[in-house]
Every structure is written in C-alpha cells, then in structure tokens.
C-alpha cells in the first residue's frame, strides 16, 4: 500500500513538473515568417521566440478538421483568423514590444506563446 501511495504522489509531482514547471523547447524565429502546423491537439511549434520590434507572419497549416482548430486568436493583440482546412493561412503579427503573447484556439485546447525578447 505504501508503494502505491508513493507512486500516486510521485505521479502528482510528475504532472505538476511536466505540465506546469517544465520549460518547453523554444523555436527561435530569425526569418520573417514561421510555419505552424495545427494537428492532433497541438500547434507545432507552440513556443516561439522573436526579437522585439520585428514583424512576423505566422503561417498556420491546419490539418485537423475539428472545429476547435478553425479559429486562432491572439487576444492581447485583438487578432483572430479563420484557418482554412488543409491549407495555409497567413496571420501577420505586427512588431511587438518585449513580453509574452499567447495564441490559442477558441476553447484554449490548442495553445501557444510568442515570447518577444
């Protein structure tokens, strides 16, 4: 029983570490555009680093027919776009100040962030 409890509690810590504390890999954008694949519950890449002051075009390639994936929002910037299925939709993002800018689907199941440094 002790072993089971230890496993259970370890699992809880693992969840906290894996989902909340772990810093996922960042894709550093050097070009002016970036292709993001929308498929199977995730944006790939989902964590993007970009230099402050340089505009960027996010090119979303939607490969998932689920209605969740249809809209992508960058709430802080009041940007929203309808993504065409099996096609690439360009979403221009203006030059930004340093900070974190989240983007996600309407239900926030697909999530990503633009880290402006």
């Amino acid at each position: 029983m002790i072993i089971i409890n230890v496993i259970g509690i370890s699992l809880i810590f693992l969840i906290i570490w894996w989902f909340w504390l772990y810093k996922p890999n960042t894709t550093v954008v050097t070009d002016k555009e970036l292709l993001i694949v929308v498929k199977d519950g995730v944006y790939t890449p989902s964590v993007i680093e970009v230099q402050a002051g340089s505009p960027l075009t996010l090119k979303f390639n939607r490969k998932d027919a689920s209605p969740c994936t249809e809209t992508v929002l960058i709430p802080v910037l009041e940007i929203s776009a309808s993504l065409k299925l099996n096609d690439i939709t360009s979403v221009p993002v203006p030059a930004l100040a340093v900070g974190k800018y989240e983007f996600h689907c309407q239900m926030q199941m697909y999530r990503g962030v633009i880290n402006v440094v």
């Binding site: 029983m1 089971i4 409890n5 259970g8 509690i9 699992l11 809880i12 969840i15 906290i16 894996w18 989902f19 909340w20 772990y22 996922p24 070009d31 002016k32 555009e33 292709l35 498929k39 199977d40 519950g41 995730v42 790939t44 989902s46 505009p55 075009t57 090119k59 027919a65 689920s66 209605p67 249809e70 809209t71 929002l73 709430p75 910037l77 009041e78 940007i79 929203s80 776009a81 309808s82 065409k84 299925l85 096609d87 690439i88 939709t89 360009s90 979403v91 221009p92 993002v93 203006p94 309407q106 239900m107 926030q108 199941m109 697909y110 999530r111």
Partner: protein, 782 residues
Amino acid sequence: MNKNNKDVTAATSCCSKAKQQTQNDNNESAVLASEHSANQNTLQLIIEGAGCASCVGKIEGALNTIPGVKTAEMNFADRTVMVSGNAAAELLIKAIESAGYNAKLMNQGSESEALDEKEQADLAYYKKLMRHTYIALALGIPLMAYGLMGGAMTVETNAERITWLIIGILTFGVMYFSGRHFFVGAWQSFKNHSANMDTLIALGTGTAWLYSMVVVFAPESVPLMARHVYFEATAMIIGLIDLGLALEVKARGKTSEAIKRLIGLQAKMATVIRDDKEVKIAIEQVLKSDIVKVRPGEQIPVDGVVTEGTTSVDESMLTGEPMPVTKKQDDKVVGGTLNKSGTINFRASHVGKDTALAHIINMVKRAQNSKPPIGRLADVISAYFVPMVMIISIVSALVWLNFGPDPAVAFAMVSATTVLIIACPCALGLATPMSVMVGVGKAAEAGVLIRNGEALQTASKITTMILDKTGTITEGAPKVTDIMLANAMTEKQILQLAASMESGSEHPLAEAIVESALEKDIELLKVENFKALVGRGIEANCQDKSLLFGNEKLMHEKGIDITSFVHKAQALAKEAKTPMYFSIDGVLAAIIAVSDPIKADSISAIKRLQNNNIRVIMLTGDNRETAAAVAKKAGITEFVAEVLPEEKADKVKELQMAGEIVGMTGDGINDAPALAQANVGFAIGTGTDVAIESADITLMRGSLHGLADAIAVSKATLRNIKQNLFGAFFYNAAGVPFAAGILYPFFGILLSPVIAGAAMAFSSLTVVSNANRLRLFKAKDH
C-alpha cells in the same frame, strides 16, 4: 481596416518574392487608402501552370506591358500575382493566358468560396464522427444492456475469460477506429507539455480498458470482488463523446449564420457600361469609377454614387431599417442592398475589399472572435484545468485505495476514470466565445456593429446615455423657418447677405441658410475677412458692410443692442427653433430662426432607454431655450446646452467621476473625442468607414432604436454568457467531486463512467445550444 485577420492563400516557402508579398500584404491598407485619389485598384490573380521560378519573370513581364498596370508582383510560393493600377481584370487574364498560363481572379469571391469549403469540411467531419459513433455504440450499447439486465461483467471461469478477451479486442478496435484521434491528440499534447480534452478522454477510457484487460489476463492479481470488466464503459464513452462532438459541429454551424448571411449579400455579377455598351462581368472585375447599371429587383454590387435615374432601395439587410430609401442623382448607394423600383446608373466609388459591406463583414468577424472581460476567469481556469483534474483523479484513487471498502481497487479505478471523463474543459472554453459569436451576429442583423467583446460587455452595463442633439435626436437637416426683420431691408436682402457669409462655414445651421437662399434662387455674394468664432457665430465683410451672425453671447460681446428682440428670440426658442441674430455695421438687422425637426421615432426610442433605467442626457451647442424645447419634445428631462465641441468630452468625464458608466452617441466625426472618452461610444446613422473605425458601436441606421437594440442585445448576450459560465463552472465543480465518490459515504452512490461520458459529451453541446438560443432574441418595443 485591420488586415491582421486577412486570409491569404497558401505559401509554403519563403523565397524573396514571398517576403515581398508579405510586405505588400501589410501595406495593403495603405494601398487601398491611396486608391481613392489615384483611381487605382489592387487585384490578386491565382496563376495555374507556373511550374518553375523563371515563370515569374514571364508573367510579370506580360502584365507590365498592359497599359494601366502600375506594378505586378508575383508570389511564386503561393502562385498568386498582385497587380496594382487601373487595368481591367479581363485584360490581365488575357495577357497571362497569351504568355502560356491560366489565371483566375482571387479576392471577393474567395470569401463565399471559403465559406462553402468550410461547410463541406464541417459536413465531412460530422459524417466521420457519426461513423465513429455508430461503430462505438454498436459494441457499447449491447454490452451495457447486458450489464443492466443483470449479466455478469466479471471474470470467474475460463469461458468468461475467453469471451471477455474477444470483447476486449473488439473494444480495442473501437478505440482504434473511433477513438484514435483522442489518443493521438493526447500523446501529441503530452509530448508538448500540454494537456487537453483528448488527454482526459484517452486517460479515462485507456485506464478502464487496461484495468479490464488485467482482469482478463491476470484475474488473480486483483481481489475476487474487483474482477469486473469495464469494456462497455470504454466503448460507450468513446461513442457518446464522438456523438457529442458531431452534434456540436452541427450546432456551431448555426452560430455563424449571421456572417453567412452577410457574405451571401455580396453580388456575384455586375452590369457595367464600357465603351457605351452594357457588359456583364464578375463583381471582382468592377473597377472604381466604372458606371454600373442596376435594374429593379437586382442587388447593388458595389458602393457608388447615383449618376442617373431614381429608385427606392431596400437597405434593411445592412441597416435594419425596414423602410426602403429613395435614391436619386448624387445619392450614395451601398453594395449588398436591393434595388426595388427603378433602373439606376451609378459610378462605383468603392470596390473589392474596400466596400462598406466588406468592412462590415471584417468587423463582425473580428468582433465575433474577441472576448469580453467576463470570459477571462474561465480562460485562466482553462489553462490549469486538465492537469488539475488529473491530480484530483489520482487523489481520488488513493483515497479509495486507502480508506475505501472492498473491492477498493475497483472503486479506485471507477472513481479515477469517472473523474477524468466527467470533467469538461470544453464547456468552460466555449461558454463565452459561442455567445459572443451569436450576439455580435444578432446585433449585425439589426444594423448594429459591435467593435469587440469589451464594448459588448460594457454596453450591457451603461447607466447614463448622452445623446448629441443635432443629427442624433434630430434629423440633422435644419431648415430656415422664420426671418424677423429689424430694419428696412427686405427678407431677400437679409438672406442674401447671411447666406453669403455662411457659405464659408461648415456648421449644419449655416448649411440650412445657404440652402434656403439657393432654393429662392438668391445669388451669393463675395465675402471677405471671414472668421468663425467658436461657440458664438461668425463675422465677415461683404459689400463694405461689417456683418455679424450668431447667438446672444456674440451680440453682447460686440455691444450690439438686441433688447427689443430678445423676447421674440425666446419665443422662437420655446418652439424648439434656433434663433440667430444678424447685425450689419453694428446694428441688429434681423433674427433668422432655424429648426431641426426631431426624428419620428426618437421619442419612443428614448422612452425605451429610460424604461431600461438608463439616465438619458442631451448635449448640445445650441442655446438654452431651444435645447429645453427639444428636450421636452423628446421626453428628456436632463440636458446641457451651449456646450462647446471640446467640452463634450469633459462632460462625459464628469459623469464618469460620479460613478456613472457612460454611453455617448454622436455622429462619429465631430464628437470623436467625447465618443473616445465615453465607456462606450456609439456612432449613429452614417455607416461610413470613419464612423466604423472610430466608435465602439456603430448604428447603421439613423434611428435611436438602434441604440436601444444594441443595449438590449448586449444585455441578452451577457445574460447568456453568464448562464453558460455558471452552467460550466457548476457542472465541473459539482461533477468532479460527485465522480470522485463524495456521495458514497453518505448515500452509497458512485457514478458510472458511462453516465459521466454522456454528461461530458452533452455539457459542451448544451453550452453551444444555449448560445444558439440567442438567435431567437428579438428586441422588444419597436
């Protein structure tokens, strides 16, 4: 117009041309804006048959030879070419064809094509989900029925082991065919350090199946009482959630009906007159300054100004105003509206993405996707929700294992699975956006354009509404009603001098005087030293006479004796007319009164606002007596008169300091600072680009009922959001502990995972359906 949400067709690589294209795209607003003066157009063509990069030069070269082409830039990556200039589209297409390629126009048409594509994709997805549902339920329902009828779901004999093994394999088939997307999604998210609905479903159904398989393969590893299989739960949950998703796809389609209706208003073809001949062309090919012919019953294809003919036009689809509007020469017509009675020719002023309809579609789309602040809490919770549920599920299992009755293992497994399955992050995530989508669309149907979710939310909380008088409560088209002479001159002479000096002014009252003179065929004279005295009137010289025209304040300032006429002026003001003094060489010559009638339905609309407990205040630059008379007629008890334009914003600020949530309604141009200062700025009745961009809410028709409608729709939408949020919060807050077995110690109740699956599937459907209920909303007391 914000181009951020602009869709551009595929570009898969980033060659230098593609970069240029992006730049072009970003600059497109500027290009469109400059078109007004330069009579230019930007057309985007899709090229077929361009297989190599060298085609770029050939195509651009072919286009550059056509007269009228200013620039031609091809984006090889997405096989499109952007042409600016004033060449007709058919010429461009011909040139490309003669260079050996095929081309077709992209732009306006692609909007409705995109919509069709989306509908087809949705339908295909719906059918796929339904197939998944049938397969899963075909196994789940008989299994569940067997269990409900008292069939043993346990593994005791070898025969049972074999039977359940076969069923277990069949269940795996269901997981593979009908539930694979949950597992793939869960795994991809997991790799990405994120968790979503898929994670919960995959974990829940996966745990139930794995546990059952352990029971089948190694029954001795679990206590005798716990040798129960849960294959029916796995199959049923997958089936029910697929069904819920399928129904959600259908219901979601309805939430975007308003935008579909707007896109549907775009005409496909237009008749233009080129070289004195009528030509029927695709709407994308209509150029600015083309003369467009519209017959009765036809849709007006683009925006323009009537050059010939008279007709009545039904503008209700854009403005919500049911009465047709008469259009004659020099009147503006708007694309998407319906020509009812006569044939007209008009000169196209805005085409393509520059038309009012295109702007409206863009704005509605953008607003539908924006979130009011009320949704923020749900957003924060959504971000932590799934891992939290996973933790609760583990805690629940541990509690059952440590303290639960026998068979503790089975109880722990059931409660952990049920917690995972019942929790529904979708309902939380959908609660706000679905209602905003329907609410903003509903408002657009009534001719009310809401800028974003924040404006929507604030509009529902307005406590004080400030109305500008001229053009908001009144028609905004004043007319000269009285001329009272104070010297020996004739009425005609007075009007000639007054109109001559007012011809330099842009004030609406000045326009009334000039119009009155022109109606009487009075020739205007040359004036010198014209000077506008803000808030008081004007002064000028004409025929060596020194003229002054303005209010009482101006006369006092300039020392002109008006004593004998003050009571006459007051009498005029009490009739809601605006009296103005006119003096020549320092002596009063006449009083000219102008009246601006109250709009027919202003009184009932103001009453609607007041009935909603909104304090209505009228602001005007007009004199006190006139303001009092207009306010009385309109049923307004509070008004502020003699306000200078720049003081309007201060008045708004003052009310805000007193704790009021202030709405300001004005024309969107002169009142811009006050509109910006107000919590919600309403621009009324213009439908022009300026107003759309400057106000939080734009009322497409002149009636103040639009204002009451806007507030009513906002209130209904906010109510709907609150219902959804409450429902979603309550569902999760009650469902998760219930699933964990909190009721078991008291009542012996433990929720079945199948019931949890059904509840979860239908919770998000309920949210979408509740939002759809808003579609039935009708503003009352019209």
